[in-house]
Assembly symmetry: C2
Homo-oligomer: 334 residues x 2
């Protein structure tokens, strides 16, 4: 493995000045950023741990680097932010071939370039397993970031793209199947919906938004909890990804699509920045008999013949144990 | 172990609104910060990994939490910043008793409170070993942050406090001795020099500054490299901590004191914010025959009878293997 200083110098050289908000990047005790006057700053951090969020034998290093930054960018997208800079803390086993961190950084760098995000600092360390923590900073005009908490009763609920694609691949990997890590696979190279998020924030159409990292059932429950609402979604309206099924679309994570609410009177286009938008349900006042703390009771799903059933928020329980049928690698993707 | 959501709720309740720059803390896709107009933002990240930066049997959880935040605050101190908020990414083994993360957070929280730093977000995950990454954000008036790169030839070199205290304890731990983790021990509860750093920045006395995390020999070499200088320090002027020795004071890390340079004409007080300040040497123009990339040749130490010898920058090599005699746990503390 490269010595720390040589490794940092390599990163410093390949990640030049890219975003004018970064006054000083790698090479001092801290990075220095100068946000635009009148803008708020958004900050998100995401862990990517070997054997929890990825496996070396399944996921190429470039895909892990891409995925790592995509998770952070997806959080930024969910608030309608314009990404500025990222920071990477990277722990590497001493016996790891030098090609691994190089390809990891290439994957991260390619995605960073496409969103003008500057790698502005971080930390490196020895570690027993590959350990990455990504921090992404972004900006939005003061007070304009889209929160989880703004949804009103009667709002329509929308999702971008389609759901279950990532979980479907993970399911095949768990079954021992070989899956080619194609650049077009949303499991290996998810596309954070930064442009859609920003479009929605600029148009002021949206009352609340979240990214689908833990799965629809969990992330809609987050919006319900923070907005103090309940919700009904219609089974037949869920956009299921090719090869996936309803279960994977409802509870599978890591699609990194956006879930948002909008006033029923507003016209939301069927496609934003090239991404299809689907209305899947609506919100209601929080039921008095239901305790909003119990996520599993906030959402109702309408099946065939208008049959109602409660939708359990399965995703976040994967922190304690993997779910049958979904068996997510990731045990925490909030 | 606590489930993820319950754990996050616990953190959210105990870390209320503390810093007015934090518009929105834990509970959404990102935290939102509103820096003061006319101020730059500083960002630093530091990994704290079990068996690399600490050992469960040596370091109490509260000490690890304190140390974790202290490392970030020390980077902020080195730029003269006013800390605002921190973010914690925490990976925890599933068999860890719930008391460990609770005490870890108590240690972190006590230090955060004393500097009005708000824990504003982060991530949690399962992990095979305890994994913590701390991000600290701070502010300083635009263009006023103290860099490593501002030192001029002929500047005086100063350090705060005394050196080698942390490495001396680590040395005893490695020798199998029992060391009581006293609250007053700088190894277990290091005190980041935030007030001294801010005082120096406000007075404009300082040309360059860094915190002593990797050890004097390494961190002075960083200032030399970034300022394109060489330096001479005098052995008899090094303030050695009680029970430590010259070797530990020169090469031992994690003292979290500040190292800074100042124009020779300026009067630097002997004590700042209650902390003793010692002049240990001076800078020189970068020697043409020396390559600044070779850290080991940038610093000369004057011993007894004015005998000169080059001071090797031993610290950063610990990334590849622990040093004899010092055997630092931490393998990267940039």
């Amino acid at each position: 493995m490269l010595a720390e200083r040589a490794f940092i110098d390599t990163i410093r050289k390949s990640h030049g000045s890219r975003n004018p908000a970064v006054v000083r990047g790698i090479g001092d005790d801290c990075a220095i950023l100068r946000p635009r006057p009148g803008y708020d700053l958004m900050v998100t951090t995401d862990l990517c741990l070997e054997n929890v969020h990825f496996r070396r034998k399944w996921h190429p290093a470039a895909s892990v680097g891409h995925h790592c930054l995509a998770r952070g960018l997806s959080d930024i997208a969910a608030m309608g932010g314009e990404p500025l800079a990222c920071f990477l803390s990277l722990g590497l086993p001493s016996d790891l071939p030098a090609s691994w961190p190089r390809q990891f950084l290439q994957g991260l760098e390619a995605l960073a370039r496409s969103f003008k995000v500057q790698l502005a600092g971080g930390d490196t360390s020895a570690a027993s397993l590959i350990t990455a923590d990504i921090v992404v900073l972004a900006q939005a005009p003061s007070g304009k970031a889209l929160l989880r908490s703004g949804a009103q009763p009667g709002d329509s609920i929308f999702v971008t793209g389609n759901l279950g694609a990532s979980a479907e691949v993970l399911d095949r990997l768990y079954r021992g199947r070989h899956v080619r890590p194609s650049r077009r696979s949303r499991h290996f190279y998810p596309e954070p919906r930064v442009r859609v998020g920003r479009w929605l924030r600029e148009r002021g159409l949206t009352t609340a938004m979240i990214d689908l990292s833990d799965g629809l059932s969990v992330d809609l429950a987050h919006i319900c909890a923070e907005s103090r609402l309940s919700a009904t979604i219609r089974e037949s309206d869920i956009p299921i990804a090719p090869h996936a099924n309803l279960n994977l679309a409802l509870h599978g994570g890591e699609d990194y699509e956006l879930l948002f609410t909008a006033s029923p009177g507003l016209k939301v286009p069927g496609r934003i920045a090239g991404v299809p938008i689907t209305r899947i349900g609506r919100t209601h006042p929080e039921s008095k008999s239901r305790n909003s703390k119990h996520y599993s009771s906030a959402i109702t799903i309408l099946g065939e013949n208008e049959q109602e059933r409660p939708l359990p928020a399965l995703g976040w329980q994967h922190f304690s144990k993997p779910q049958k049928g979904i068996r997510n690698l990731s045990q925490s993707r909030s």
